[in-house]
Amino acid sequence: MASSVAAAETAPIAHTDTPEAVVVRFAGDSGDGMQLTGGQFTLSTALAGNDLATFPDFPAEIRAPQGTLFGVSAFQINFGSTDVSTAGDAPDVLVAMNPAALKTNVQALKPGGLIIADTGEFTKRNLEKAKYDSNPIEDGSLAKWDLLAFDISALTLEAVKPFGLGNKEALRCKNMWTLGLALWMFDRDRQPIVDWLKGKFAKNEIVANANIAALNAGHAYGETAEVGSHFKKLHLDPVPHTPGLYRTITGADAIALGLVAGAQLAGLPMFFGGYPITPASAILHNLAKMKEFGVTTFQAEDEIAAICSAIGASYAGHLGVTSSSGPGIALKGEAMGLAIMTELPLVIVNSQRGGPSTGLPTKTEQSDLYQAIYGRNGDAPLPVIAASTPADAFECAIEACRIAVQFMTPVMLLTDGYIGNAAEPWKVPDPKEFDPFPTTFLTEPNGPDGELLPFKRDARGVRPWIKPGTPGLMHRIGGIEKAIDTGNLDYAPATHQAQTDARKAKVDGVANAVPPQGVSLGNTSGKLAVVGWGSTFGPIHQAVRRARAKGQDVSHIHVRHVWPLPRNLGELLKGFDKVLVPEMNTGQFKTVLRDQFLVDAKPLNKVSGQPFTIAEIEAAIEEQLA
């Protein structure tokens, strides 16, 4: 998204007049429903017309023991009356539902920021679980923040009393009470949430009504002065967006939709072979609900079977798609080689997470770039595309489908845990905006004298796609090196040289079929280019904008086609004195750029499982320009 400087940087929220953007973090026990609260708050924000970006941050454990530090689940949202493009560096408001949530999140809070804490949960036992020696609410250790502590638990129990729920069930309404308060703080309409609650608990009217009562009670609590001394109601004006229909979208949703759109544009049914893995499973779940678009989903017995079934489907004339995260992608490597060797289309989605091995399953990282570009045995090139935002993932998925079928090649689409889970507003595209790329299958022999040549290449080096079931075109394919044109087994030295060269030339040629690299922000030459790929888009963009606002000569270049690289990228980079490459790995794209263009690219690396903050990149820009 186009962006401008997010303002609420300096003064603590509680004391400023209306800021341009606000960052709120909801944190609680994983059983407290923080992701739901965040999701509904996001919806109300979108409906209010603010720009927004979110960052869900949840634990790897499904049901971590209650009240523990590692069981804390958080949801951060940055929203404003101006474009925001990141989930925000430091929160202005922290809602802490228990001591563990406070402990793990308070250090991120801006000085002077507002803490809203549920005193009902600050019991001796919970304080111990959070490893607090004394109660931070009482011992003055939170002095540099503004503290609003009251017994949300008790207030919730009071509010839902008429519904006769058990204590445990009643306390589950706490998140709605808190949401109600948050809606009051930011002057939001409660009705959409009420509608949503009615739908969600359609089968249990009592629970629906209890939650609605809690929501209203939280809202009323804001209304009735108690909060007033700490916080006054804020209203952020809507962002002037391009007119049209909008919704919020996460990367996982966008990829599923983009794949469906891509298959439709190719005129092909889609086969999706997947295996459950965090954080990629959401794509399988989404597609499993889209059967009417000619989608077949298959949950395979393992990652290898998932990709092999997808290749089998492509062989049979479907658009084969598989998806996983780093560990699963590693298992699929051999099969990718077969798809490269047999020159069949395939889309492989990698939702990257912290690695190596099991690593950080629920945290984000960009450390599978080498794996994507180089990670197979033999000279096995394939195109790699990286999505930069949740909304961008939609177009990238279409692009992956297009390249796969037009070049008869597997294509890897890189996304990551952050893009997958983060939400942003999305202007719903009209499917007609996209040019179709209809597929053709060979129906008759293509050689002289009626001979079939399954590996005869066209001018771009692409072989024909031949579906089994086509009369008269019986032939055999496999992973063994093959003769030019006929595809017959052929281990001759000259053949392997020629076919290796041909496979490389074909993939290199994809660069001719993608748009030239542009500059996201700034000039096409100058002192410093900040070059990014993937989900670092938001923080780089904001950092460059701020630097430029200070008069610094810096540009932002964001690369979607990370392999093969756009034809003009080398020239473009040479127009800058310095090149800085921020990435959430130890410098992989930096090395690729150095290798490809002999450019003195400098790394800025972060592998903490958390996205870059704007400030981190801003500081690195300062340093480069100093």
């Binding site: 919806l43 979108a46 409906l47 017309g49 959409p192 809507p238 391009t242 007119p243 049209g244 229909l245 909008y246 919704r247 919020t248 939709l257 469906v260 439709q264 049914p269 086969f271 072979g273 889209m290 059967k291 009417e292 678009f293 077949t296 298959f298 395979a300 017995e301 393992d302 290898i304 079977a305 998932a306 092999c308 079934s309 997808a310 089998g312 489907a313 492509s314 062989y315 049979a316 004339g317 479907h318 099969a335 080689g337 077969l338 047999t342 719903v428 499917p431 579906k467 089994p468 079931g469 086509t470 008269g472 019986m474 032939h475 055999r476 394919i477 496999g478 992973g479 063994i480 017959n488």
Partner: protein, 338 residues
């Protein structure tokens, strides 16, 4: 098997123009011929027939047949076959694998393709050795097999492919061997079975495991050591002089002598391809004290995976229009005005 219109072909029509590259005398040649003989008999159409294989000597098979063929990667042929069949259920899918390919590296996929009951024929060539990699012992090698990787003899117990397949939920289990004249009949029965049809074929690797199956395949041993199973007929072997009968105390089969052909008097069991308990006994019969059970051991079809899954998908599509614009605008939306 899938419903298809019978096509007239001859053995010659199924020979591809590729030079066959197995060692001279390899049992694979006989199996190839048996398949090329079977396909015309069942009215198969080369255009809708797909042979899918993994890696190993046996997996070169598709190259030599004039049909569609996919020589894939080691052990994974069942997964490719699944994608192919689900994408086009009209195709008649044959899976070619070996003891290393199907029982070792691909054991997981073999289990699942059978468990799911994908409509296909699975031919597992069992030569009890790794041929293509030059003679290492395999998961079906007998204890004490000397090989480059087990110079002192292997110590681990072999897997029984048919028992494995039945245990995985197989609904068609059969056994034969390369040079048997009855192999085409077994293949025909496998093809006639709707669902995953598993056929173990003992295959002579004359280079690394020569004559391993002579104990029952050699002419002199055949009568006494083979028992060919026929649905509805008594379990007789050794020219009708011996049979298999139920040992009620041991809950298993025992060998009984049959005098003057009176098998009923000897209590010989009648084969029933739908009797799963009997199938379990037959696939586990220890060779030596018992003859090798060959032919169709079990054949009791169940709904196939492809039918069930694609049927469910078709139902989900009923009455729905694939409106991409609507899909993109799903959920809560808002409009920004001019």
């Amino acid at each position: 098997m899938n419903e298809m219109t019978a096509i007239q072909t001859t053995l010659k029509d199924w020979e591809s123009d590729q030079e066959v590259r197995w060692c001279p005398g390899c049992g694979d040649y006989a199996i190839l011929k048996a398949v090329q003989r079977t396909l015309p008999d069942i009215g198969a159409d080369p255009a809708t027939t797909v042979f899918v294989s993994g890696i190993g000597c046996s997996s070169r098979f598709p190259y030599y047949l004039e049909s569609y063929g996919f020589h894939t990667i080691h052990g994974r042929a069942p997964a490719f076959a699944t994608g192919i069949k689900l994408s086009n259920p009209e195709l008649d899918v044959w899976l070619i694998t070996g003891d290393g390919d199907g029982m070792s590296i691909g054991g997981n996929h073999t289990m699942h393709v059978i468990r799911r009951n994908l409509d296909c024929q699975i031919m597992l060539f069992n030569n009890e050795i790794y041929g293509l990699t030059k003679g290492q012992y395999s998961p079906t090698s007998r204890v004490g097999t000397h090989s480059p990787s087990t110079p002192l003899g292997s110590v681990d117990r072999p897997a029984l492919p048919c028992a494995f397949a039945l245990g995985a939920g197989g609904r068609f289990i059969a056994r034969a061997y390369d040079v048997s004249k009855d192999l085409p009949e077994v293949l025909k029965a496998a093809h006639a079975h709707k669902g995953a049809a598993f056929v173990e074929i003992f295959q002579n690797c004359i280079v690394y495991n020569k004559d391993r199956f002579d104990d029952f395949t050699a002419k002199a041993n055949a009568a006494a050591n083979q028992i060919w199973l026929k649905d509805g007929e008594p379990l007789l072997f050794n020219k009708g002089t011996q049979g298999l009968a139920m040992d009620r105390d041991l809950c298993g089969l025992k060998v009984v002598d049959v005098v003057d052909g009176d098998w009923e008097a000897a209590g010989v069991t009648v084969h029933d391809v739908k009797n799963r308990a009997l199938a379990h006994m037959l696939v586990e019969l220890p060779f030596g004290p018992f003859p090798m059970a060959l032919g169709v051991i079990y054949d009791d079809p169940r709904p196939t995976y492809d039918e069930a899954l694609l049927g469910q998908d078709a139902k989900a599509r009923e009455g729905k229009v694939a409106d991409l614009g609507k899909l993109l605008a799903k959920g809560q939306t808002w409009t920004v005005g001019e």
